[in-house]
């Protein structure tokens, strides 16, 4: 979902009013906390809620981006920063694009005397060699240690971009599937970004993070002034019934089956909408 401009959400049936209210308070500065951590099981509506919060936030007030940390493309902090650079817009993207050009583009390092090194720093490349009837893969590094350099440059540019934001605007990061983030990504997020926010840096940045796993770093006391930790609950039976019968207009007989099966595991909004879609599809086909 990286960088998605969400379309209006289909079959809206879970309002998550308390969570949205809390986020609203954070976004408009009523609440001092600036890190909003959402925890819930798979399929309980974290991604939906992130999308909803994204849509709730008016574009005029902020620069915002949704990043799926479980995506294959977000392999490390460099990829994460590149995503931010690409999608966030405003001065942040401008600063970061400039940094990307200088750190990942043409290398032309000049010393006092002469130009010593030229070369294009491209991405690392996987090469397949066919040896003796079998394949052999090798990674050709364009610049193995340039990675740390680029990350530092991009981080600096990100911070510079935040500082360059007009006072009326803020930046909001919506980070989905935190539990799937690779260690380098997670380390950068926790050790640099979120810890910086905790310690009073980046005053115009808000982070909304969703995960199926507990947020270990929140165990320390010093986070409580900066971070809100909220568990998403499953749907109450009444809401399920209302959604099934009134919003989707689906047969009650199927609802009984669903209720019977899902009651043991809690009513997951995602599962419920999946089943509703399938039954709708089945009914439509049968009618045709």
């Amino acid at each position: 979902m990286n960088g998605t401009r969400f379309e209006p959400i289909k079959h809206e049936f879970v309002d998550r009013e308390p969570e949205r209210g809390r986020y609203g308070a954070i976004a408009c500065g009523q609440d001092q906390q600036r890190i909003f951590c959402l925890q819930a099981e798979d399929g309980w509506g974290k991604s939906w809620l992130l999308a909803r919060l994204y849509l709730d936030t008016p574009d005029q007030k902020c620069f915002k981006v949704v990043i799926d940390l479980g995506s294959t493309k977000v392999k490390d902090e460099e990829a994460l920063l590149e995503n931010i650079a690409e999608e966030m817009g405003g001065p942040i993207s401008e600063h970061m694009a400039e940094a990307m050009e200088t750190s990942a583009g043409k290398i032309d390092i000049k010393s006092e005397r002469d130009t010593i090194i030229h070369g294009d720093v491209a991405i690392n490349k996987v090469v397949v060699n066919h040896q003796g009837g079998s394949d052999h893969l090798s990674v050709e590094l364009q610049d193995p240690h340039g990675y740390g350099y680029r990350v530092r440059n991009l981080t600096r540019a990100f911070i510079a971009g935040l500082e360059a934001l007009p006072p009326s605007k803020q930046a909001i990061l919506f980070l989905d599937r935190f539990e799937k983030a690779t260690k380098p990504t997670r380390d950068w997020l926790v050790d640099q970004l979120l810890t910086g926010m905790r310690d009073g840096e980046f005053p115009n940045l808000i982070a909304v993070v969703a995960s199926t796993q507990p947020f270990d770093f929140l165990e320390a006391r010093e986070w409580r002034y900066t971070a809100v930790h909220q568990h998403l609950q499953g749907l109450p039976e009444d809401a399920v019934r209302e959604y099934w019968v009134q919003k989707r207009r689906l047969p009650e007989g199927d609802l009984q089956t669903i209720l019977k099966l899902l009651r043991t595991g809690g009513f997951s909004p995602s599962a419920l909408s999946n089943f509703a879609d399938m039954i709708e599809q089945t009914t439509a086909t049968n009618q045709a």
């Binding site: 960088g3 090194i117 720093v121 060699n129 040896q131 052999h136 990674v139 399938m278």
Partner: protein, 786 residues
């Protein structure tokens, strides 16, 4: 009897109920669309070629799919997991065929489009696992290792996540995933579960997986400086690779073996003697004399997990040289393997390691050639980092050739890149070399700049050791006569920024060169001195005995006397060598048995390599800059200063056992380089703070040089006293007529007196030392109870 029930999964149960009701075509489309992680138009054409558009529309109509980017459809993980599970039950053969189609497509993308090649390669291997689990896993392992070697850890972790998705499908091959997990943990510097890995090795005997696991254990042992274990693991891995004829893993294992031997030497203090050690007759003599101990020592050093400090023991340098040559041999074999595989990354890595090694071995010309050839490689040209690595070696070589301008240029260019890329270890090393080059050029101002950069890099890499060395160099620079006062002041200002004092136990870094020179100049005089000393003592003893017993009665012309004196002399000449050898042997055996007996396995981890004293505490750091335990001055109740470095380990253990209180006791195991300063500084810190701590010096002097010499002298005196007592042993005198030969029994009488008396005096000295040591231990124990 209890049976394990599968965990209830209400989602799957509900899906089973409802999915079956969907029209067959819709079911089919949903199942096919779930196979790739991201469904795009090209993949859709492959999966459902007949009604591509209509089928995509069907998929889009379900709310468990989303389209984060235009034309890229993704399923919700919950739904996708369920559908992939369904394939295994419904139609595994078709799933295999479809996966094959996708694998081919991703391979095509990998070969045609350089962008996102890691993602395409990972997806190719992901689908290929379904088609051919065994062969596919071998390829996954290949890419996984390559990604780890190139520090693409995030991509490696993603590849592992992908392979994990196929765990249920790949059956027995899933054991590889446990190895990948461990391998990733190793690269993230986490503790390995050695038992679990050993279990895999036992189960997968002589397979590629076993070889990989052995390699991982070997590298882990090397990281923990358990050299012998590392060598055993790696050699076993190599044996399996040779049997399986797996060129990639074989080359990697050779590289690891090379790293092992090089690390072993570096962590033991580096190489101090040049390769051309046999260039003078004296060195040849020394070499011949020390050959026996050398062989024994080499055997020992290869088989136990430590190689003691190399300083002051020149024959250990030959062992170090031997190890470096072994490293070189392994690097060459690895290079050959990587060349055959056309693995350019591997070749560049090896070339870099080999160049550094050749330079350390004083094969400067070969190192330079290798660097120049490597710099022509496209991959090196495109990588400022690799360029800097090779250029910095060339810079050092230029400095050796006294081509200071070139050295300056190459070193400053490399420094700039290391600083930009945050490789602080290399930056510090190069900055120091640059400072030295500037000093030699007579450019004190530039030297100061370089040393300042060096200090910054040391700070970033937390290398307190090199900070101290730089501080020392700044002091030297400030003493140069031709400096302006303001510059001298600035140099001293920079010098004063180093607050902490650092003391070292092992010294692998920049002081190495100073040691190198020192040993080069001192080795020969030391040998001569030892020879002269022993000869003087022997003749002195001989003459004193002759004098005391009456000159006329000494049978100078008797060949038996001459031969026996010669044998004594030879024994005395060898004595210093044999004493050291015996000392090391005893220590090796004793230390090893103590370690085995007490069940300590992490011997070297517990050893501090250097100490940093600051206002608040004394802390231990290893030479790579990692800090260890920090002991605050106010917590110190007992400061124990152990004796010689060679006794440090067993004595640290025994002291720890005696003390039972490590937190409030300060153990300084080892006579470090600058040992006395360390001792004084600790005492000063404790006294200044009016700490109630007791300082106890724990010394076992039995085999110190001073004790050895005292024993020898006392032996000579004792022998003299015995011989004087002619009444007790009336050999000479009135019974023997003037001018007559001394009787056989009497003539031989005084020959064993010297060694016997020396032996007895040594025993006495040893006993005294032992009593002192025991009493010190008793005092430590008493002090710790206060």
């Amino acid at each position: 009897m209890q049976t394990s029930q599968p965990a209830p999964n209400p989602y799957n149960d509900a899906m089973n109920e409802i999915f079956e009701r969907l029209p067959v075509h819709v079911q089919d489309v949903l199942l096919l669309g779930a196979i790739p992680h991201v469904l795009d138009a090209e993949l859709a054409k492959l999966l459902f070629p007949e009604e591509t558009e209509a089928d995509i529309k069907i998929i889009r109509s379900f709310s468990f799919t989303s389209e984060p980017r235009t034309g890229q459809i993704e399923y919700h993980s919950l739904a996708r997991r369920y559908l992939l599970g369904l394939w295994m039950v419904r139609d595994p053969d078709r799933f295999r065929r479809m996966s094959d189609l996708l694998a081919r497509e991703y391979r095509r993308r990998l070969e045609t489009s350089p962008a996102d090649s890691t993602i395409h390669a990972s997806e190719w291997l992901f689908h290929n696992l379904v088609v051919d689990p065994a062969g596919g896993m071998s390829l996954v392992s290949n890419l996984f290792d390559e990604l780890l070697e190139s520090r693409e850890l995030g991509s490696a972790e993603r590849l592992l996540h992908l392979a994990e998705e196929q765990r249920a499908w790949i059956g027995s091959q899933s054991v590889w995933l446990d190895y990948f997990g461990s391998s990733l943990a190793y690269n993230y510097y986490k503790e390995l579960n050695q038992t679990a890995i050993e279990k895999i090795i036992a189960e997968q005997e002589s397979s590629l997986l076993a070889a990989n696991c052995l390699r991982l254990l070997g590298r882990n042992a090397v990281r923990k400086q358990r050299w012998a274990d590392g060598r055993d693991f790696l050699l076993k891995a190599l044996k399996i690779c040779n049997t399986l004829d797996n060129a990639y893993t074989r080359a990697s294992v050779h590289m690891d073996l090379g790293d092992l031997f090089q690390n072993l030497v570096e962590s033991a203090g580096g190489i101090l003697v040049e390769a051309r050690e046999l260039d003078t007759p004296f060195r040849i003599l020394y070499y011949v004399l020390s050959r026996g101990p050398l062989w024994m020592y080499r055997l020992l050093a290869e088989r136990v997990n430590w190689l003691p400090n190399l300083y002051n023991m020149n024959y250990q340098n030959w062992v170090a040289l031997h190890f470096l040559r072994l490293a070189l041999k392994n690097y060459r074999l690895a290079e050959k393997g990587f060349k055959q595989l056309q693995n350019r990354r591997g070749q560049v890595e090896i070339a870099n390691r080999m160049a550094g090694l050749l330079f350390a071995l004083s094969h400067t010309g070969s190192a330079e050639r290798l660097c120049r050839n490597s710099l022509k490689e496209g991959m090196v040209k495109n990588s400022p980092y690799y360029t800097a690595r090779f250029e910095s070696i060339l810079g050092q070589a230029a400095m050796q050739h006294k081509n200071l301008e070139t050295a300056h240029e190459k070193l400053s260019n490399s420094l700039e890149i290391f600083e930009r890329y945050g490789d602080w270890e290399n930056a510090a090393r190069v900055a120091q070399n640059l400072g030295e080059a500037c000093e030699k050029e007579g450019k004190a101002e530039l030297a100061l700049d370089a040393y300042r950069k060096c200090l910054e890099s040391c700070k970033n890499s937390r290398n307190g050791l090199q900070q101290t060395e730089t501080a020392y160099r700044l002091e030297k620079l400030a003493r140069k006569p031709a400096l302006s006062e303001s510059l001298r002041q600035r140099i001293m200002d920079v010098r004063r920024t180093i607050g902490s004092l650092v003391f070292m136990d092992r010294y692998p870094g920049p002081v190495q060169e100073a040691f190198h020179r020192l040993t080069r100049y001192l080795t020969l005089p030391s040998i001569l001195l030892i020879l002269l000393f022993t000869v003087a003592i022997a003749f002195g003893a001989f003459i004193s005995v002759s004098f005391i017993t009456g000159e006329s009665q000494v049978p100078y012309l008797d060949p038996v006397v001459w031969w026996s004196q010669a044998i004594f002399l030879f024994a005395w000449i060898l004595l210093p060598l044999l004493a050291l050898w015996g000392y090391n042997l005893t220590y090796a055996l004793l230390g090893h048995f103590v370690i085995l007996g007490l069940g300590f396995t992490k011997v070297d981890e517990a050893q501090p390599n250097l100490f940093v004293l600051d206002d608040q505490a004394i802390s231990q750091q290893n030479w790579a800059g990692g800090s260890g335990q920090k002991i605050f001055w106010e917590n110190v109740r007992t400061a124990v200063i152990d004796d010689r470095v060679l006794f440090s380990r067993p004595m640290t253990f025994s002291s720890s056992i005696l003390l039972h209180d490590n937190e409030t006791s300060l153990l300084l195991p080892a006579s470090t380089f600058r040992y006395l300063e360390l001792e004084k500084e600790v005492a000063r810190q404790l006294t200044d703070r009016r700490s109630p701590a007791q300082i106890i010096k724990n010394r076992l002097r039995i085999l110190e040089w001073s004790s050895l010499i005292s024993s020898l002298l006392m032996g000579v005196i004792l022998a003299g006293i015995i011989v004087i007592s002619q009444d007790l042993f009336s050999c000479y005198g009135a019974e023997v007529p003037q001018g007559a030969d001394c009787p056989e029994a009497n003539r031989l009488f005084y020959l064993p007196i010297l060694p016997l008396s020396m032996f007895f005096t040594s025993l006495i000295f040893g006993f005294i030392s032992l009593v002192r040591w025991l009493s010190a231990n008793w005092r430590i124990k008493k002090a710790s109870k206060l």
